[in-house]
């Protein structure tokens, strides 16, 4: 939890003008927050074959993407990684030790073994281990991304790694699939689809077996399901009682509690607080869609008093901060709010629309949709450096929506 506190704080102190109080704490927390350290990889011996050099490329790309490091081949680097990457007989074997160069303090000693087909996954794991050991912060390299893509002409679910590699189509329903969310253990995906009944229903897919189960097909709307951090409950939007409202449902589907009862308004987009006690959601009861927080057992919702003509698509990070999309000057921009203080910060800044943000498990990056010229792609924004990169290669056709990252709660122990 300590890691998350400092990572979350970093989100805010990187814009000191807005948060003068936080600026004063900068020296106390860590000098490297938001700064880039040199990391020397020249001592990581790498075999000449494709598998080993592929592992090395994935690792370097992950470490750069983490935002914490500048990779060097020598010189005076703050950190040093030693070890080897070797492939033999269809197997890959790697080991690494990470040091603080000055003090020669060893922060990590780990080995990684598996089939050559697992090289990418192993490299992601090594990258996250190095990030954790040297910065104290979790990484995002091992996270999987689920999203909606429309390249077949229908909206289907797709999966890829956090670096955009390994893109594959998950559903082939020829229906409309929307709003996918990971289960906390990363083994299941819950989503809204018009599959089978041609009404919007909630389905749960278990990735290993491919088994699919309908969780909710009540009369009217069943949408926006989202797992509680413990994985035993889901929040969702149902209209069975006469109007779209927020509900909490047992993951087995046998106990349902209604949390809102707004006859004149619609609720949408629920997301759980990391402790599972509260839910942030959208309600248009003020006349425009805005963010509200309610207790897991109901109670009077509290409106988050933040700017923006509309505030939608909240994602409550394990770091305690809520990422959301705000209509500012006619454009949607990704913002972050501290729900305790109401302090906000705009993360995206250019003239495109940035929508549907999802926290990466590192609590530092945000995956979101960047829409420009009526073309939607997934981008990864670094909340510390403001760098913004495309998830998928430019050559990947089609429009992409609704990203969600696995492992969001993995590091929140």
């Amino acid at each position: 939890m300590k890691f998350y506190f400092s990572a979350a704080l970093a989100v805010f102190i990187s814009l000191p003008a807005f948060f003068p109080a936080a600026q004063a704490q900068r020296v106390v927390v860590s000098k490297s927050l938001g700064e880039v350290s040199f990391l020397d990889l020249s001592g990581l011996r790498t075999g000449g074959d494709a598998a080993a050099s592929g592992f090395r490329m994935v690792l370097e790309s992950d470490l750069t993407r983490s935002g914490w490091f500048n990779l060097t081949g020598g010189g005076r680097a703050e950190f040093t990684v030693l070890g080897s990457i070797e492939a033999e007989g269809g197997r890959i074997s790697a080991s690494c030790e990470a040091y603080r160069t000055m003090t020669r303090e060893r922060c990590l000693s780990e080995s990684y073994r598996g089939g050559a087909h697992e090289a990418r996954a192993l490299a992601h794991r090594m990258a996250d281990d190095i990030v954790r050991a040297l910065t104290g912060h979790p990484g995002m390299a091992a996270s999987k991304i689920v999203m909606v893509g429309s390249r077949t002409g229908k909206k289907e679910l797709y999966l890829c790694d956090a670096d955009g590699a390994g893109l594959r189509q998950l559903t082939r329903d020829n229906a409309i699939s929307l709003a996918p969310r990971w289960s906390p253990d990363g083994r299941q995906i819950v989503y809204t689809s018009y599959y089978r009944t041609q009404f919007p229903d909630i389905f749960l897919v278990t990735l290993a077996s491919g088994e699919r189960r309908c969780l909710a097909n009540f009369p009217g709307l069943n949408s926006s399901a989202s797992f509680a951090p413990g994985g035993r409950e889901l929040s969702l939007i149902l209209s069975k009682d006469g109007n779209p409202d927020l509900y909490v449902m047992d993951a087995r589907g046998d106990r349902i509690t209604r949390l809102t009862a707004t006859k004149r308004a619609a609720e949408a987009c629920p997301s759980w607080s990391p402790d599972g006690n509260e839910i942030v959601f959208v309600s248009d009861s003020p006349g425009t869609p805005q963010l509200f927080i309610t207790g897991r057992d109901g109670g009077a919702p509290r409106r988050l008093a933040i700017g923006g003509a509309q505030n939608v698509d909240p994602d409550w990070g394990a770091n305690g901060y809520i990422a959301y999309s705000s209509l500012i000057g006619g454009q949607f921009q990704v913002c972050v709010v501290n729900p305790a203080t109401g302090e906000t910060r705009q993360i995206s800044r250019d003239d495109a629309n940035y929508e549907d943000p999802a926290w990466a498990p590192d609590g530092r990056h945000i995956f979101c949709v960047r829409r420009q010229g009526y073309h939607s792609r997934i981008f990864i924004i670094d909340t510390l450096s403001s760098s913004c990169i495309s998830l998928l290669a430019e050559t990947e056709k089609g429009d992409w929506y609704s990203p969600d990252c696995s492992g969001k709660y993995k590091n929140a122990k």
Partner: protein, 171 residues
Amino acid sequence: MTGKHLYSVLIVMLVCALAMTGCRSRKGGRVSGDNIGGEIGSDGSSLPTRMEGDLNILTSVKYDAVMFDYDSAQIRESERPKMEAVADYLKNNRDVGVIIEGNCDERGSSEYNLALGERRAIAARAYLVGLGIDGANVQTKSYGEEKPVNPGHDESAWSVNRRAEFVFFKR
């Protein structure tokens, strides 16, 4: 110039007078049709169980879609005759049910638009119930922003995409 001005004032007065009498006659004649859908948006009752199995959709029966203002689920005055036509058809065909499909324009959150589309469908359903239609025969479905009739990206496209469509089926 003065003449034109007077003319437009007269037209405004005439429109106001018509609008007021329109409201009054409805309040007197069809109270329920006015209060539900228009203002409350939902009659507060639960939705009916879905019809099981493949529905016998009456593709030849077509009624005009009801249009909505941006971010609104209120049945506009101008759309009420469309609702009444649907109600009359259902009254004359007791073996027919209807699925009301709520839709939104492409702007804003797609998940919020799913909820807004459902609100539009429910508002239209409540209006039909207010006109004497049995709610058990009226299903609602939201397509959010997923089924635009006009794929354009301007108000002329958006205004026709913010709609509730009526799909009839044999019960």
